[in-house]
Subunit: 209 residues, 2 copies
């Protein structure tokens, strides 16, 4: 009869990284609708998985219809949407997974909050988590020409209110870790650019390089 | 100049599992305060990590002070707390990680919702995710005797309102996948019992058995 339980403290982030053989961190894509965020993020996720790394992409499909389905599009709800995404990305990073987020996230203050959350450590012995902002920088004219979902057209017609780049601001990052341009480079080139950055920062295990 | 982007659809859950070499699912602990949930959950997480699996534990420390820090203890907020935890566990399971949750989660309806969320598949080609409820079943007298944080004492003194088992109900699972008893078995025995269940269900990769 074991009535005296040993209260385990759990693993530190470093111990988990060691057991898993990789570090967790967050790669945060930001850019206009139709800028190519999800395309590059998806290709990057697949590339990292093929290298044998744990990676997971958070996007509108798996967040808006699940965790954040109670949120609308008011300013307060948009902020809360990004806050929760940042917290969940942080949990994935803490679990030694590469979290990849793919949301317009148009406001600097929201992205700054996401960055700061990753820098905060509540558990003793944990390092801060890396936060890599990837700015998908294309002229709005190109995004509007692509318009794969017809959203820009609807925004111009006034059928969608407060559409980023048309009737609501997009605040471009001032110091993103990486800037990619999907109108000048292929998806593969954009992925290679990000992978090169990760290698330079020691964020890919030696075996995967 | 690549202006025509191929729109990747992303990996299905099965493709990700294959790339990662393991299935994701959720192990949901429920039980009274001081029943031993976190102790067994932590030991299980460590065991799975040592087997080479990706596993991650969601608990009060990494959820209440982060994602759910906007929530209080009203009935509505308690429900929302469990709903978000269930959605995040589902994301981890979807990412091919073994999600382990360690919360009192006293209400059947909340746990049933968590179970149903895992059964719902929004993306075509995805199987439902396994949801394994682990009932940590101990007499309240034993929990109250342990009382490592002095919470039962405070609840008896009326200093904590609506304390599960004292002044608020605990609705025991009717058909949990696993029942463990930390007052009769060691932590190691409880972990072995869960691992045996996972093996029987084919939820551990052959290499880890």
């Amino acid at each position: 009869m074991a009535t005296n339980i040993t209260w385990h403290d759990g693993l530190t982030r470093q111990e988990r990284s060691q057991a898993r053989g990789q570090k967790g961190y967050t790669i945060w894509f930001t850019g206009l609708s139709a800028s190519g965020k999800s395309t590059v993020a998806t290709a990057l996720e697949q590339h990292l998985l093929h290298l044998g790394l744990a990676a997971y992409r958070l996007d509108g499909d798996n967040v808006r219809f699940g965790l954040n389905k109670d949120l609308g599009f008011s300013e307060k709800d948009r902020n809360e949407n990004i806050r929760r995404i940042a917290e969940v990305a942080k949990l994935f990073a803490d679990s030694s997974t590469v979290a990849i987020t793919s949301f317009i996230s148009p406001y600097r203050a929201d992205r700054q909050l996401a960055r700061e959350l990753h820098a905060q450590t509540t558990q003793a012995g944990n390092d801060a988590l890396d936060f890599i902002e990837v700015y998908v920088d294309i002229p709005i004219e190109v995004a509007e020409q692509r318009d794969p979902k017809g959203l820009y057209k609807k925004a111009r017609a006034g059928e969608i209110k407060e559409f980023t780049g048309i009737s609501a601001p997009y605040e471009a990052p001032l110091e993103p870790e990486i800037t990619i341009r999907t109108h000048q480079n292929t998806v593969e080139e954009c992925v290679a650019q990000i992978v090169e950055y990760l290698q330079g920062k020691g964020l890919l295990p030696a075996a995967a390089q």
